[in-house]
Each structure stands twice: as structure tokens, then as C-alpha cells.
């Protein structure tokens, strides 16, 4: 049961989700474009609307470190960051996932310095690709609200116990007012039971967490982590299904838009996918057999769902919003790796663009798709192109 549709900034919709989730601990450091989320949460705590421990810290490294502690004692824990802040947390992210602490974090995706940029792209998300967290991408404020709620349920599942990131594009979600349907508290309470860590830090019943892992044990710990992360997909699917039933919003690891008769598919992640949908609408109306797929789930990587989604396509145009400087674009290289073993697979064209907040219009996506089809026709598949660069 959703409530009525209301106008709300994306950041505030996320803060509402945190309040409804009855989060018990928040440790955060403000950084653009994430600040509105934690500012609103600070207000909730200050005026008694949310009964949580709010820990102001001196850096993002400390924020994530404090989150380790609150999650380890068994408190439902949330934080948010972006860009440089995420990079400052970097080493602690691996500790959170290695210790299997179900912290939930929102990352308001933003470019990395230098040059200094506060604007959105996916460089920060790609830099923490291998940190062992579940990672999900939202495309609008409603999805951000929904997926943050689902994130707690997924992360805290006793068979999962993994920290989870919901990525939202900075400004395009965090600072955009749009319509959102919230859920009633009693609905959320039913969906999201109280968090109980199976082995919390507790002086009355001591455990060792974060012990030394010498060579005879380290590989086993990593295998256990890898299997847990891969297996979390089953729980993610189950939770999203259940959430779909109660809210009417349905989510899948790979989501398709008008792909039924499409020979050519565009692949995107994040909020610009919605702009791309409008290009697809226009091109289909003109009789072109084009469609769109988006990776909703980034970690664990949805290999089977991706293979299924592209099984009938002849051409896949992958649009990365980050570079792996000196290497292949990060999303495309993973797509290629996932499809490489298949006997029949689409040709792949790789583009990088919309870096550091540069926009891409409806017409821009149309040009990008046409450009991709041209490259495929000319057999120019051996290297990626950075689009929209002044020569």
C-alpha cells in the first residue's frame, strides 16, 4: 500500500526511507551532492522523529569506521557519501564487507578529482567495484526510496549479511524534486523486521571479529565472501518480488525497455537511462528496431539475466559513464567478459560519455545509437570512443 503521490527531492525521499526503516545508527560526513540526505536525517534525529544514534565524524574514513562499530554491535546502520568521500572510505569498505556487516549506504555518484568536479558520473562507483558490497543502481527518486528500503532487507538477511550500496546519480536524483509515493510505516514494519546480527559484539558474550587471516585461512575467507555475494542474488530476487507485491514497483537485476522486437540494444546505468527511454520511444515510432536495457544490479553481476536480455540482439551498444584509464571502459569490459563464452552473441560497440556532469540529451542518445550502428556496419568494434569531445 503506497500513500498518495507527493512532490519531494530525491535526497529527502531517501531520508524518508531511512526513517521508515527505523535505522538505529547513522555516521556521516557531508559532501556534495549527498549532503541533503544526511542533513535531513540529522533533523529527524534532532526533532525526535527518528530514534537513532547520529554520529557526526571528522571524515568519511571515520564515518565508515563508526558504521563498522554500530553494525557490529547489532544496530541497523546507514550512511551516505559521494566521490572523494567514497574514495576516502575506500579501505574501510573492504573491512565492512569482509566482516559481513549489513551497512546500507547511498552513494550520490559524482566524478573524481582532478580536475575538481562536483558533477555526476560513475567514476566513484567504478573505483569501488571490487569492494565486496552488493551494489544497486537507481534511476529516479521513487526507485531510490524503494531500493534503499529493500537494501536493508537484503543486507540483513541471515544468509546474506553483506553491506549494500544504492547508487543514485548526484543532482539528477539527489537534488531533483519529482513525484514519489512513500509507504506507510506499518507496511514497512511488516516488510522490514528488526535487525538481529547473529554474532554481535557484546561484552556479555564476547566474540572475536576481524582476526588475523594468515595464508592457511585467507583464501577460505575470500571464497566464503565470494560465494555469499554471488548467492545473495537469490535473496535480492525474493525481496524485490515481495516488495513488488506490496508496493506495485517491480525490480529485476537487468531491466529491459521495449526490447521485444529490437535488433539493437543500448545498455545504460543510472538516471540517464530514463532520458534514453525517450530516445528509444522516438526511434521506435520512426520504425527503428532499437531497445534499451539497464543494469539494475551491478554486484553481484547478473550474468545469466544479461545473457538472457541480449539473446536476440544483433548489436549491443554499451554506454559507460566512467573510464578505466588506460584500459577498457569498466561496464563494457564486464559485459564483454559475460558474453564472450556464448556461441551466439551480439556485436558490441563501446562508448564513454557524460563524464563530470556533461549532459546527454534525447537527441544525443539517438545520435549515439546511430553512431553505434554505423560503427558496427563498418566493423569498427576494436576500440571504444569517448563521445562529445571537442577536437
Amino acid at each position: 500500500m503506497t500513500t498518495k503521490r507527493i512532490g519531494m527531492e530525491g535526497s529527502f525521499a531517501i531520508a524518508e526511507a531511512i526513517k521508515l526503516a527505523r535505522v538505529e545508527a547513522i555516521a556521516a560526513y557531508p559532501i556534495t551532492p549527498q549532503t541533503h540526505i544526511v542533513e535531513r536525517l540529522a533533523e529527524f534525529v534532532a526533532n525526535g522523529e527518528l530514534d537513532a544514534e547520529y554520529i557526526p565524524v571528522e571524515s568519511e574514513h571515520s564515518a565508515m569506521s563508526a558504521c563498522l562499530g554500530t553494525s557490529a554491535v547489532g544496530a541497523r546502520t546507514f550512511t551516505a557519501t559521494a566521490s572523494q568521500g567514497l574514495e576516502l572510505m575506500h579501505e574501510v569498505l573492504y573491512v565492512a564487507s569482509g566482516l559481513r556487516l549489513p551497512i546500507v549506504m547511498t552513494v550520490a555518484n559524482r566524478a573524481l578529482s582532478a580536475p575538481l568536479s562536483i558533477w555526476t558520473d560513475h567514476s566513484d562507483a567504478m573505483a569501488i567495484r571490487d569492494c565486496g558490497w552488493i551494489q544497486i543502481f537507481a534511476e529516479n527518486a521513487q526507485q531510490a526510496f524503494d531500493l534503499v528500503l529493500c537494501a536493508f532487507r537484503i543486507a540483513e538477511d541471515l544468509t546474506v549479511l553483506l553491506p549494500t550500496i544504492v547508487h543514485i546519480d548526484g543532482f539528477y536524483i539527489s537534488h531533483t524534486i519529482e513525484s514519489v509515493e512513500l509507504l506507510e510505516q506499518k507496511v514497512v514494519d511488516k516488510f522490514l523486521p528488526e535487525y538481529r546480527h547473529p554474532y554481535p559484539l557484546n561484552p556479555d558474550k564476547p566474540v572475536t571479529m576481524g582476526a588475523f587471516g594468515p595464508p592457511p585461512i585467507y583464501t577460505e575467507t575470500k571464497k566464503a565472501h565470494e560465494v555469499a555475494l554471488r548467492d545473495s542474488k537469490k535473496v535480492i530476487l525474493k525481496v524485490w518480488q515481495e516488495f513488488g507485491k506490496l508496493s506495485g514497483s517491480h525490480y529485476a537485476p537487468v531491466e529491459s525497455y521495449k526490447t521485444e522486437d529490437a535488433d539493437v540494444l543500448l545498455l545504460c546505468m543510472g538516471s540517464f537511462s530514463e532520458t534514453a527511454m525517450m530516445s528509444i520511444d522516438k526511434m521506435q515510432a520512426e520504425g527503428q528496431k532499437v531497445g534499451l536495457i539497464r543494469l539494475r544490479l551491478w554486484r553481484p553481476f547478473p550474468t545469466e539475466e544479461l545473457r538472457q536480455a541480449v539473446s536476440k540482439a544483433q548489436l549491443l551498444i554499451v554506454f559507460d559513464r566512467a573510464l578505466s584509464l588506460g584500459g577498457a571502459p569498466p561496464v563494457c569490459s564486464e559485459i564483454q567478459a559475460a558474453l564472450y563464452p556464448l556461441k551466439t552473441k551480439p556485436k558490441i560497440v563501446s562508448f564513454v560519455g557524460s563524464l563530470g556532469g556533461r549532459e546527454i540529451s534525447i537527441q544525443g542518445f539517438e545520435e549515439l545509437i546511430n553512431n553505434g550502428m554505423n560503427r558496427a556496419k563498418r566493423g569498427k568494434l576494436d576500440e571504444f570512443e569517448i563521445i562529445g569531445v571537442r577536437e
Binding site: 569482509g98 566482516l99 559481513r100 556487516l101 549479511l161 547473529p198 554474532y199 558474550k205 564476547p206 566474540v207 572475536t208 571479529m209 576481524g210 582476526a211 588475523f212 587471516g213 594468515p214 592457511p216 585461512i217 583464501t219 577460505e220 575467507t221 571464497k223 566464503a224 560465494v227 555469499a228
Partner: protein
């Protein structure tokens, strides 16, 4: 001497602080100085003073050394601490015809029954030599002399430069130790069939990945006490009750927390955990504590 293709592999068994790493490094440097190829590396780990440690050498006349892996089937084992033969399988994987070089106060006839294989055994009282020549019971350079005597792995003179470089003003004592050990090392041929190794150095068993709890949590509080670090020690504290005033300074300073008070109020160390560091003896203001060598 004809140049050999063969790579000679050496495994050093010592305790943290005895200088096994230094020995192996000096040997490699000396061999390279002779125009040979050589490597030396320790089994990297969190070992502390007194803990059993392994160090490895590979030496060859004309084959560059590529293997970057522990020595499993040594041609030579060097044992710096005689107590180690009771807590670790020092001859595990030692090849037929291999060489054992051991520091012991015992004569060949008294110790050879400890080893069962067709090996060459070289014994030397390195602790005594080191005390005489260097003034401390650090036997690493002494054992180098014994090793050179027992094998033709390098020329004794080749160690002179590396010793000078490493020890500076203390090089002479170490060089004397080396030369005395070269003279005093006794060698015997052993007989017997080399048993297939029944155990490796990893005597602990570890869980499979499926047995690990989420986050590798250890739910059993205080299980570090299962790890009896007492066998790391080469010296034990002995209290003289005539001098002891029961002040408890030893108890306060013991970094291991292994000193307790007995029913008469005297302090004593728990032998299962005392690593023999000697801090209690150093801190005792009535000099009631003496560190006594373990046998």
C-alpha cells in the same frame, strides 16, 4: 671444482631472534660473491622473538634461481635450536643423502638416534662457541661455519666480506665464531631408511570455507589460550625466594600476563605461556629472578 647444474636447497630452523634470517642472507651474499646464483628468504609471518621460524636458501653454480616458494625437499637442514627437534619435524622432506647441521651440547653418539635416515649429521656446540666469541648466545654466524664444514656449498673465506658489511665492528667476533665452528664441527654418516614425511610444518588444522562463520567471526571467547606459546622460549625465569619481597613488579611488567601468585604469595610464570623474554628478570629490583637456559 666442476660447476654444478644442481640447485642446492637449504632449510633453516630457528627461533625468532636467533638470527636464522641473517645466516641465510649472509650465505646467499657469499655465494653470489663467488659468482654463484643464490637466494635467501624467510617464511614471512607474524613470528616474534622465540617463535619457531623457517628460512630458506637456494644456491647453484650456474643455474639462475627462479623458484619463489618454500623449500619442501631440502638437501640440507640447519637447526639453530636443539629444542626444535621435539616440536617440529625438522627432517620433513630431507632428501636421501641430505645433511643435517645441528646446534647441540650433545655429542654425535648421543643425538644421532633422534634422526632416522641415510643422512650426514653435523653437530656443533654453537651456543657455547657464540658465548665465547661474541659474548651472546646468538648462534647464526656460528652455524654458518658448521654448515660450510659439513657441505662444500661455499668457501669459508667468502663470508668475510658479507660479515664485515653486516656486523661492522662486531664482525671479528662473528668471524671467529664461524671459524671455530668450522674446526669443531663433528660429522657422522647416519644409516636408516628415510620415512615419507608424516607431517608438515602446519600441524594445526584449519576449517574449510564452508565452515567459516559470516565475517570469519570466532565465537569462542579467549581461545588464544589454546595457542601455547611457552614452547617458544629458550630461557625460563627462576625466582629466588630468599630475595623475593613479593612486590609483584614482575607480575605488572609481564607482557604475556602469565605471571601469577602461588599460595605462599610468591610469583611464578606459567610455563605454557611464558616466552622467556626476561622482562621480569630485568625489572625485578631485588634481582630475585634469573633467566635459566632451557634444556
Amino acid at each position: 671444482m666442476e660447476k654444478r647444474d644442481k640447485i642446492i636447497e637449504i632449510r633453516w630452523h630457528g627461533r625468532g631472534g636467533q638470527g636464522a634470517v641473517t645466516s641465510a642472507e649472509l650465505l646467499a651474499l657469499a655465494a653470489i660473491e663467488e659468482g654463484k646464483f643464490a637466494q635467501a628468504f624467510p617464511s614471512f609471518g607474524p613470528e616474534r622473538r622465540g617463535a619457531p621460524v623457517l628460512v630458506f636458501n637456494r644456491v647453484s653454480d650456474k643455474t639462475p634461481i627462479r623458484a619463489r616458494v618454500s623449500v619442501i625437499n631440502p638437501d640440507i637442514v640447519v637447526i639453530l635450536d636443539p629444542g626444535l627437534i621435539y616440536i617440529t619435524d625438522v627432517t620433513a622432506g630431507l632428501k636421501e643423502g641430505g645433511v643435517i647441521v645441528i646446534n647441540t651440547t650433545k655429542a654425535v653418539v648421543d643425538i644421532k638416534s633422534e634422526f632416522n635416515g641415510s643422512w650426514k649429521l653435523a653437530v656443533v656446540n654453537a651456543t657455547s662457541i657464540a658465548r665465547d666469541t661474541i659474548g651472546v648466545p646468538i648462534v647464526n654466524t656460528t652455524m654458518l661455519g658448521a654448515l660450510v664444514k659439513a657441505t662444500d656449498i661455499i668457501e669459508l673465506e667468502s663470508l668475510a666480506e658479507p660479515l664485515k658489511e653486516r656486523f661492522g665492528a662486531r664482525a671479528k667476533g662473528n668471524s671467529d665464531a664461524c671459524h671455530r665452528a668450522y674446526k669443531e664441527t663433528e660429522i657422522a654418516e647416519l644409516s636408516g631408511v628415510v620415512k615419507k614425511p608424516t607431517k608438515t610444518f602446519e600441524t594445526e588444522t584449519f576449517p574449510s570455507w564452508q565452515e567459516l562463520l559470516p565475517g570469519s567471526v570466532i565465537p569462542e571467547a579467549g581461545n588464544a589460550k589454546q595457542y601455547r606459546t611457552g614452547d617458544w622460549k629458550s630461557e625460563s625465569p627462576i625466582w629466588d625466594h630468599q630475595k623475593c619481597i613479593k612486590c609483584g613488579i614482575c607480575y605488572l611488567f609481564c607482557p604475556e600476563g602469565c605471571i601469577g601468585q602461588n599460595k605462599d604469595g610468591y610469583f611464578e610464570a606459567n610455563p605454557y605461556y611464558c616466552k622467556g623474554c626476561g622482562i621480569c628478570a630485568r625489572e625485578c629490583w631485588t634481582e630475585a629472578i634469573k633467566m635459566v637456559e632451557e634444556e
